[in-house]
Amino acid sequence: MGRIQLKQVKKAFGDVEVIPPLDLEINDGEFVVFVGPSGCGKSTLLRLIAGLEDTTSGSIEIDGEDATGLPPAKRGLAMVFQSYALYPHMSVRKNIAFPMRMAKVPQEEQEKRIAQAAEALNLTDYLDRRPGQLSGGQRQRVAIGRAIVREPAAFLFDEPLSNLDAALRVGMRLEISELHKRLKTTMIYVTHDQVEAMTMADKIVVLQAGVIEQVGSPLELYRTPRNKFVAGFIGSPKMNLIEGAEAAKHNAHTIGARPEHISVSGDTGTWKGTVGVSEHLGSDTFFHVNVEGFAEPLTVRAGGDVDLHYGDTIYLTPDPALIHKFDGNGLRIE
């Protein structure tokens, strides 16, 4: 079980309020991702749930019981840290065994769980090595193994992939998702990378300056961002946001069109512009287009074999059904 409820949770360091009172409900078995730019309070929120920081006010309930004052050890949660935080003086086996040793789990049980975790994480051959002798990905797995054997109510991940190189990150992303499918335990995952959020989450919590901007499934956030911030943050490349006369035509302060929702043509379209830098990814090409009358260049996606070059004239047509409209406060207009 792992249902976590935050009720009016607030955190202040001295006079500085990092998290204004906030409510959040995380259901049992959910994979929840906290995402936001650095300094948005997502890690602090995670640490409040972990018990590594005191809440200034409000309460945190785990499975219906008040855990606000409980020390981290008593909350039944496991955490994977950004730096992995492995114990450098202990072998992999001892690292994984440590939480069970603290909980005084019987020896045979410990060995059984270590074997299972090692099997699941491909660590069987490395059990007697020290963390210093492992690669980044292996260390990450040990950290996860150490979390699994606790059989926690929920897993907390604090930017666990940010120290890995790009290729490994994709692999580990899949492994963690698979782990979640298999264990069906609640997971709370903090990241600044919206791709991780989109690919892994059941539910994304977008944070900015300690405030929850929107909560929802990845597709909800993608399709109906509640405000300009979420619109710009979710999706890659970023949504094009256009202000001024063009927006006024749609009775909005700002309109948004995703690069993938703008069609490209060499001879006809709504907007006329010139091609700037183009990024060829093989399957797709992203054009940066300077449109007459727009303050910012637009990014558009075209197929892999569109033959347009720097300086060429280009015509763009946004899909009218997929244009997002925002008012003067940045809020979505339906």
Partner: protein, 290 residues
């Protein structure tokens, strides 16, 4: 990373150290200040009347006081000059590529681990003794008259011994500082056409400035309290030629049992050390933020 629980645990854990150091500092300090205003001699039991600034008056007007102050300055200044300049040169030398660097470094550092009484006595008897000392043999072999080190140049001899002990300290710290110098900076300067001298003057020396300051300040703290080397070699003599402030206070309090005057001297020494400490603490404090 702090919760209320860990913060109160921290307070509990730090308190024994704080309480002990507080007592260690305040109790004797208060007593010294108190005694310095009393006429108090261990040889004259009975009441010890309050005499105001009298002890300070006696201490300052004692002819040995001005001698001791000058000696202290000469001793500290002399040793500082030798060890700092020598230390820079040694560090520069040891930073060069050579064979057996580790062994040479160990030899250079060794004197620092020799206890003060040993170095005092060994230098005095086995090297500086005019008849049987090595220096005596050396000057004789070269056809000069042997020098009576502790008779003719007592202060210079003490400075020499103390410098031998502290040169390794300066060398070690300056060498560490040298080794942390970014080689690319030097290479960039070389590309910019800087000669060796200008590289030393404009890049190495400024980089060392901080380490040099630390060496000077820390050594000063210790050098103000030089005691054992004087005790085993000259006993402050001949006359008061090698009596520094520390030794003078020792003489008045533990040899003449004049607690009052000794304490007044102690207060003077504390004030003197505090002036140096003030600057040292600022240096260290700055580093703590970095």
């Amino acid at each position: 990373m702090a919760t209320k629980a860990s913060r109160s645990a921290a307070r509990l854990m730090i308190s024994p150290a704080v309480i002990l150091l507080l007592c260690w500092m305040i109790v004797p300090l208060a007593m010294t200040i108190y005694f310095s205003f009393l006429r108090y001699n261990l040889l004259q039991p009975g009441n010890s009347p309050f005499v105001g600034w009298e002890n300070y008056y006696w201490f300052f007007t004692d002819p040995s006081f001005s001698a001791a102050m000058i000696n202290t300055l000469v001793l500290v200044g002399g040793v500082l000059a030798i060890t700092t300049i020598g230390g820079i040169l040694f560090a520069l030398l040891l930073d060069q590529p050579m064979w057996g660097q580790g062994v040479i470094r160990i030899m250079v550092i060794a004197p620092f681990f020799v206890m003060p009484t040993v170095s005092g006595l060994v230098w005095k008897n086995m090297f500086m003794n005019p008849v049987n000392g090595i220096f005596g043999h050396l000057t004789q072999a070269l056809g000069f008259a042997p020098i009576d080190f502790f008779g003719q140049i007592p202060m210079a001899s003490i400075i020499f011994i103390v410098s031998w002990q502290w040169l390794p300290f300066a060398t070690l710290i300056l060498l560490t500082a040298f080794q942390s110098l970014d080689q690319e900076q030097l290479e960039a300067a070389e590309m910019d056409g800087a000669s060796w001298v200008s590289r030393f003057w404009f890049i190495m020396l400024p980089h060392l400035a901080r380490a040099i300051t630390v060496v000077i300040l820390i050594q000063t703290i210790f050098l103000l309290s030089i005691f054992a080397e004087i005790l085993v070699t000259t006993n402050g003599g001949p006359g008061v030629a090698t009596t520094n402030l520390t030794y003078l206070i020792y003489v008045s309090s533990l040899l003449q049992y004049d607690v009052g005057i000794g304490s007044a001297g102690g207060v003077v020494a504390i004030i003197l050390a505090n002036i140096v400490a003030f600057f040292l603490m600022r240096m260290i404090g700055k580093n703590l933020d970095a």
